[in-house]
Amino acid sequence: MSAAILVLVEHLKGTLADITFEMLGVGRQIAAAQGGQVHAVLLGKDVNALAARLGAADSVLLADEPNLEQPSAEVIVPLLQQLMAQKQASLVLLGGTNASFGLGGQLSARMKVPFVNFCKGARVEGGSLVLTSQLFGGKILSDVKLADGKGIVSVYPGAFPAEAGRSDKTPPVEKVAVPPGSPKVVFKRFVEPDTSDVDITKQSVLVAVGRGIQSQDNVQLAEELAQSLGGVVCASRPVIDQGWLPLSRQVGKSGMTVKPRLYLAFGISGAPEHWDGMQSSECIISVNTDPKAPIFDGSHYGVVGDAVELIPLLTDRIKAKKG
């Protein structure tokens, strides 16, 4: 079977996101096994210059219009629908990111093809495409087969190598028109993160706290430890949602991506949304009461124990060492 694959290009403020290249890479891999072409769908405002960097695709389908800044699903979905029909595409690859969130479900409902979420692996087996999804906060993997090869796939960020989707070739560009409509969801503006707080992406030592820290008072213990190390405190989503620390301290999918020399993780289980934001730290030391917490799989050092008990002991040790 050889049918086309569409890749919805992601970009923010004039820069192509890594997920774009990751999707092009996996698209190329599937096309190599099954035949067919890979088309990059690029839409936005003032984005035509980005097309030249999408050489891993066989062609770029471009819609560059003033009213296409951060378009909503009701604009993107009909366009993808139209392109699927025109290009006889069997697969559409979307980023498993907040930016593309929800598009897959709507497109799948309209095209009556299945949607596969959280995709971390793809292989062709006996002529069928088998996709691996990550479920239940990273604790379970699920293999699903697309019987007739048709599907909409949400590609998990960081799961496939971006290098495989980069190329120096200049792809042919084909202009496409967005179907007319009067959107009921209209983009107004970006709200930038608060910059009055410290920038956690620039710290070399981060003391991170998660649900296991239990209370706001205990966040103060982590503050004292961070101070003794010359670092700052950051957190996973549940702590931010509780209002114990400001949004500017959030690490993970919606928050910041950090790469400190030292990441001390206290009471963080290591859900994929958090792991995405800190996996490149030089040294990760994790403390969690659950010996099976996924965070231990990627950490350099691990401690099964109570963070609240350990933090003050560690602070005392460090203060003593520093004299």
Binding site: V130, V185, I240, I284, Y301
Partner: protein, 258 residues
Amino acid sequence: MNLIVLLKMVPDTVEELNVASDGKSLDSEYLRFKLNDPDEHALEEALLLKERVGGKVTVVALDAPEVDDVLFMALAKGADRAVKIPADQASLGTVATARMFATFLASGGGQITPDTLVLPGSQAIDDLEGEVAAYLGEALSLPYVGVVSSVSPVNGKVVVLKEFSGGMRGEYEVTLPAVLGIQSAEKPPRYVPVAKVRAVMKSAKIETADIAPPELAKALVVERMYKPEAAGRAQMLEGTPEDIAARIAGLLTERGII
């Protein structure tokens, strides 16, 4: 406003999850269920909107273990009406679930008025087939935005903030009625004392809405479910907490951090 919150029970991932003997589903024997985190935030956002602009909050859920407790908890927090659809959530995929909610909302049960906001949580950890919110928007032909963390009514519309990455958020204006997938409420979900929930259990009732599951095969066929093999494993530090503190301090010294 007419605020309709959809609640879903999901396996608590704090507990260990095991694959059943068929190799294609979760072993339900030791599963513990909890309310999906974003759904708890959706309820909170609805209660905040009710406090701000007035209206009525209806919570709706399919049948699942411990769901009655969650519906009573929602009433105790300030929801006006709780409805249970007696169909087993576990046997339905996301698409069928969305269809059932759509049928409920389109029937007399839900009533989509011009000031209706349907508020599911943005997503759930078992959303293999995608998010209920997106399918629901499609089934009801209503506008939809997901990953929402703030909702403000302005001139008969709502202005919402959708999360992107790196702490960036996008502001969108949405015409009502609409479906908004809530990621987090503007305030932490409120706490309600157990005594209050117990009192509500005595005084309030959960309504039942009988809706037939759609004739719809699951869109995706699961070939195999399994636990991931760890790519690596941390070197585990053991001993008394004092010993461990000393070991970590030693490691930090070796690495020149202190």
